[in-house]
Symmetry: C2
Subunit: 411 residues, 2 copies
């Protein structure tokens, strides 16, 4: 499970172009440790104890750090050493995941700890940009209410959504959740919410959450494959999120698994997504089981009905999940064959439909992977909820806010 705090050391100091100033690295090291003595910060970073003392004094003076009681000594005797910790009230950020049917937000304090969350069912047909901005503002305010924070207490927001997002430029090229195209979404959200905003593809943010808090912490390379309304992939190569040459990242869901195959919502045929995502399952359920008639409602309601049928032994319902699982095996095998990651994390709320990843499906993915002596990739299933994605968005915002507050540098 996702830990509340990463427990790995913060590693040696980063140098060279692009590396943050030492003061910020000291701060990040303390945030990542939770509570840590000055001498251990110096040891971790490989810098002098004097620098840590000087710079952490400035950080205490400016209200970003506090002195606190450290963990008890190993001997169990004597007074625990004085440790440094982040002052949680030094700032707050909100992370928001926007999606087709449900928006989720989480409020995180300056220490990186979630303090409140909120969700907003939002099944809208033919959603526009204007509606999306309204909804984003609504879920933002709901989260503030939950956290019992006044508006001014939150200084930054991170927003993740499916589609092609240019994170650096803050542009949304295309999202399946609303119709508008080529939208300067970052500045629009910043105007609407009245604070700094960062945007990114939602799966990239989930992947960052895995890299910072989850199974990816110990790994330089891994892939996250998500199944939700669509199929997404986040890829960490050499400890960094791989965004592709143009910055829009990987689009596993739209790789073709069948020439002239099933119609995808992107308008093309044979996409992996058109076989394994929510709407693909619902489409099959509609044809085979007539579920639209029996259970009208949202995609989620229909999927639950289909899942119930499968559990109850309905062969048609089972075969829908089985076929989706086989195509998912193809997609996973192709990821492993092309990228050769040591770990693939299967994630997303829909992983509770265990038919998709039953042992025979994972076995099939293994069989479909070129082996010939290459070590096999490990597969982990993380059936986590949307709040983890939102936490990835919050972490992005927190990193950005920390840049601004501590180094005085806008990203």
């Amino acid at each position: 499970m996702l830990d509340a705090q990463p427990t790995d050391g913060c590693g040696p100091i980063r140098k060279g172009p692009g590396a943050p100033p030492l003061k910020q690295q000291i701060f990040e090291c303390i945030r990542s440790a939770g509570r840590i003595a000055r001498v251990d910060v110096a040891k971790e970073l490989g810098v002098s104890a004097g620098s840590v003392t000087t710079l952490s004094s400035e950080l205490i003076r400016d209200g970003f750090l506090i002195e606190a009681e450290g963990p008890p000594r190993d001997t169990g005797r004597g007074r625990p050493p004085v440790a440094l910790g982040v002052r949680p009230e030094a700032g707050h950020v909100v992370g928001i995941k926007l999606s087709d049917e449900m928006h989720t937000a989480v409020v995180v304090d300056f220490a990186g700890r979630p303090v409140a969350e909120a969700s907003l069912p939002a099944a809208v047909t033919g959603r526009s940009l204007a509606t999306t901005l309204d909804e984003a503002e609504t879920i933002f305010r709901m989260a503030l209410d939950q956290a019992n924070l006044p508006e001014g207490a939150v200084q930054a927001a991170g927003v993740g959504l499916p589609g092609l997002v240019d994170h650096v430029e803050g542009m949304l090229l295309w999202s399946p959740i609303f119709r508008d195209r080529r939208v300067p979404l970052r500045s629009m959200l910043a105007d609407r919410l009245g604070l700094r905003v960062q945007i990114d593809n939602d799966v990239n943010l989930l992947t960052l959450a895995e890299l910072w808090y989850g199974s990816g912490r110990a790994l330089s390379n891994f892939a996250v494959v998500t199944i939700e309304q669509g199929v997404g992939m986040g890829l960490v190569l050499g400890d960094k999120l791989y965004r592709g040459a143009h910055g829009y990242g990987t689009e596993l869901g739209h790789t073709k698994v069948q020439l002239d195959g099933a119609l995808c919502r992107c308008g093309q045929r044979g996409c992996l997504e058109a076989y394994v995502s929510d709407y693909a399952l619902v489409r099959e359920a509609t044809a085979a089981l007539g579920l639209w008639g029996r259970a009208p409602g949202s995609t989620r309601v229909l999927l639950e009905a289909l899942f119930d049928e499968a559990k109850a032994g309905n062969e048609a319902a089972r075969s829908i999940f089985r076929r989706a699982g086989r195509f998912l095996s193809v997609g996973l095998a192709n990821v492993v064959t092309l990228f050769d990651p040591p770990l693939v994390i299967l994630s997303g709320a829909r992983m509770r439909y265990d038919y998709l990843y039953a042992s025979e499906m994972l076995e099939e993915a293994r069989r479909l992977t070129l082996d010939q002596g290459r070590p096999a990739a490990r597969v982990e299933i993380h059936a986590w909820g949307d709040w983890v994605w939102a936490r990835g968005a919050a972490t992005l915002a927190l990193a950005d806010l920390t840049d601004v507050l501590i180094s005085g540098e806008a990203a």
Copy 2:
């Protein structure tokens, strides 16, 4: 086309862990420029003219550089400035491409210029490791003869072959061209040829040739897709060859384009290779045209017969190439959708079968690629012969030899 020499500047000096010593960087800069004045080397690298003068004097003294007449001045007047160049006789390397039916070798001098090449038809059924080592020695000696060089004049060799190659450890896990598995091929070849050897996957070496001498010179990211006996891919990400987490690289040919599809020589079903590589075309030709009976012989002979039939208007022959082209479109579209490179180079001798990349095929690849406003990848066709692959192998050997001779460091 591949230029004889790269013409780009050598860029600013590389620093940090893993960067070669300044003397070696000066040498590489001069090799990459062909002829260049000392002052321009200093300008390119961003180092003092004094360092360049001192270190290049050592390189001249040790026989690696020569003084030569530089290019005429822009004004057209006055004596051309004195330039530095690599002394070609300072060393020689051999690059070898081993494959199913034909081995190719090229001899390259210390300036990186090809001075001789040789090829050896080698269609052997059920080839063993012992036979492969014999053949490698034969093609090596043939190349030396062509170059009119005594054995001792060549100090290193680079060898590329298809399959899973651990370049760093010098291990071959598996190759389609012989039956043995998990072979310490680098040391075996070094023993047999009596010199330093580096091994790598053949497509990686072709990709290095594109990065150093070809279309990839100006790009940080690009993909090379090859069609030969198999389908291969080389991927440059962030100016470096991407080798995957375990060092064996990408295996596009064994990604699945059809669930339960055509049988591949790897033993699995539905691999891209099983639709577009030589043996896939021959297999179809056998069934539809009875070509085995009419034109017994090697795969190459059969393919030429099939190509002739298609050119002559035989619809069955045309449909074989067309189907292969459509599956190739799927493979290319998947590469672009996943990696988002600005350039994909289609390469390999078989690109002369233009049915595989006729305009409708490239158009289909474009249609199958998730677009939504993302800039399209450019596709280039390089119907180059095997000697370019061998040159990539030679360049690998030359880089290794340069490390040893100039920095005294074995890779």
